[in-house]
Amino acid sequence: MESFEALLEESAKTHGHLCPGQVVGVRMAMLGCRLIDLDNPKSREQIKKLLVYVEMDRCTADAVAYVTGVKLGRRSLKFMDYGIMAATFVNLDTDKSFRIISTEESRDLSDIYAPEVAQKSQRQLLAYKRMPDSVLFRVQKVNVNISKYDLPGPTKQKITCSQCGQVIRDGREIEKNAQTLCKPCSGNCYFSHAMEISWPGMNWSPVDEKNGNSQPGLKKGIALNNPL
């Protein structure tokens, strides 16, 4: 694995800015990989051995993803929306799993670890670099019960929603009133009032770019308005 500073620099570039959360995330990932015996998680040999569950969608999550190389699309990155500054690192080969929690006290202790820095965010950033892992984190050995439908690899199952006909992958269907439903049809869904629409320039394709036509709305410098 690269050095902490090198990882932090690249992680901050990928994330968009350097912040205390990046420091915590890089260190959390380095510790997590160390605990599950992966020294180069992005390598071909190790990338398929690793699953990471992040429990927050904050700067720290991006740093964890950068250092470990886990990705949502690879199914190696799992987002558990707990609002907790924690992540669990699973070695699929050995079943070793450790949950690393960023300590709340580390925020209070930044005043004493970097007292020479007046600006709060910069003080935290430096303090989080100076603190030992034992101050910055608590670690739990955990068992992670991983469904076969959550593992990386090809789709394990496809089922069709009996209400709307949508194909549902990997066991995400809901059984309700003797029907097999997708989540939107089951009512357990993050959106509402869905209504199919048409939109300006709806026949555009990337082939048009080759013919000198960029996306219609962009070409005319106007926003794509909801036609409804």
């Binding site: 300590t103 006290e105 209070d108 202790l109 004493i112 670890y113 007292p115 020479e116 100076r130 603190m131 030992p132 034992s134 101050v135 608590r138």
Partner: protein, 343 residues
């Protein structure tokens, strides 16, 4: 796991912790020690201490008794120069100075340690001069029974950097003094500085190897410094000429003598015009004139630290600020006052 029993049913049982007795103004200590077997005669005494029930403890896997916890914590906290006995009293272990010296507390470690739930350590202020055998800190696990993991985590935090509490013996240094100023050099007034500096140096266990006098001439001050270095001094104190007047050239003399690092100005009063410089690793301390008037100045805060080998730079002088204002009491009680203890 705890089992609560009535004290009158406890005859024959073994006490699971020390039981403290406090007689105001007379006694505070363990009336009964952990491991004591309760007998008939104890019942009345226990009831007088307000104990109508006792706990019987059956430790579960991963649980430890407060006494075991205190020993783990003490071991983590104790750095070089610290001694302690694995004989907790009332769940507490005291840490003592193994030698005379300067107490140094890693405050970040201490704060992080105390942020772990259910453990505590309290110490004297960092940079307190202590005597051999003096208590400098104490630690305890707060509950009677704890999980082993947080105790070990706290101990690990405490052990970062080799411990949290240290006593460093003061080096027996050979110190050269340079008294600057035309008024003294030309005999217009008697020097009062050298005896004051000499007393402070001797009290800290070092020796004054020579006292040189120099006028307000940067070259002659340079020569006086170089002579002390040639004579093998490992620390040099200069007095006077540290202010802002045209005749105050001591700093220039230090610079001419080859100072590689110079820090002028300390966040302490008295002592704002203090200077720390280094010539080939030898510390050079420029003591402003306030040292003549005030019993305690910035010199008393910094000299012991120099004598334990601490490198004093801008940060160390700046961090004196909080608590660096002497209250100028009619009767000075330093070190039993806040001066220099807010760092």
């Amino acid at each position: 796991m705890f089992k609560k029993i009535r004290v009158q049913d406890a005859v024959g049982e073994t006490l699971s912790h020390d039981i403290t007795e406090i007689r105001p103004g007379e006694f505070k200590g363990a009336a009964f020690r952990k491991g004591h077997t309760v007998c008939d005669e104890d019942i009345c005494h226990l009831q007088k201490l307000g104990k109508n029930h006792l706990y019987l403890i059956n430790l579960e896997k991963d649980e430890i008794h407060e006494n075991q916890a205190a020993a783990i914590l003490a071991k983590g906290l104790a750095g070089p120069g610290i001694t302690w006995k694995d004989d907790p009293k009332e769940g507490k272990i005291c840490l003592y100075a193994k030698t005379d010296g300067l107490l140094v507390v890693d405050k970040a470690n201490l704060a992080a340690f105390n942020m772990v739930d259910e453990v505590m350590c309290a110490s004297l202020h960092s940079y307190t001069l202590v005597k051999k055998g003096q208590q400098v800190a104490a630690t305890r696990a707060i509950p009677l029974v704890m999980n082993r993991t947080p105790v070990e985590r706290a101990a690990s935090i405490a052990q970062q950097n080799g411990g949290t509490v240290f006593v460093h013996p003061l080096k027996n240094s050979k110190i050269g003094i340079v008294i600057t100023g035309n008024e003294v050099f030309n005999g217009l007034i008697d020097d009062k500085f050298a005896p004051i500096l000499n007393k402070k140096i001797v009290e800290l266990g070092s020796t004054v190897s020579g006292i040189a006098f120099a006028p307000d001439d940067e070259s002659l001050i340079q020569q006086a410094i170089e002579k002390h270095i040639d004579n093998g001094c490992d620390l040099i104190l200069l007095s006077g000429g540290m202010s802002v007047d045209p005749d105050d050239v001591t700093r220039k003399g230090i610079q001419k003598a080859g100072a590689s690092e110079m820090h002028y100005g300390a966040a302490a009063l008295p002592g704002a015009m203090f200077m720390v410089a280094y010539i080939g690793g030898i510390p050079i301390l420029g003591v402003p004139a306030c040292g003549l008037h005030h019993k305690v100045t910035v010199l008393d805060l910094i000299l012991p630290r120099v004598l334990i080998g601490e490198h004093i730079g801008k940060k160390e002088l700046a961090f004196l600020g909080h608590g660096g204002l002497c209250m100028d009491c009619p009767e000075c009680v330093h070190p039993h006052c806040p001066f220099g203890k807010g760092m």
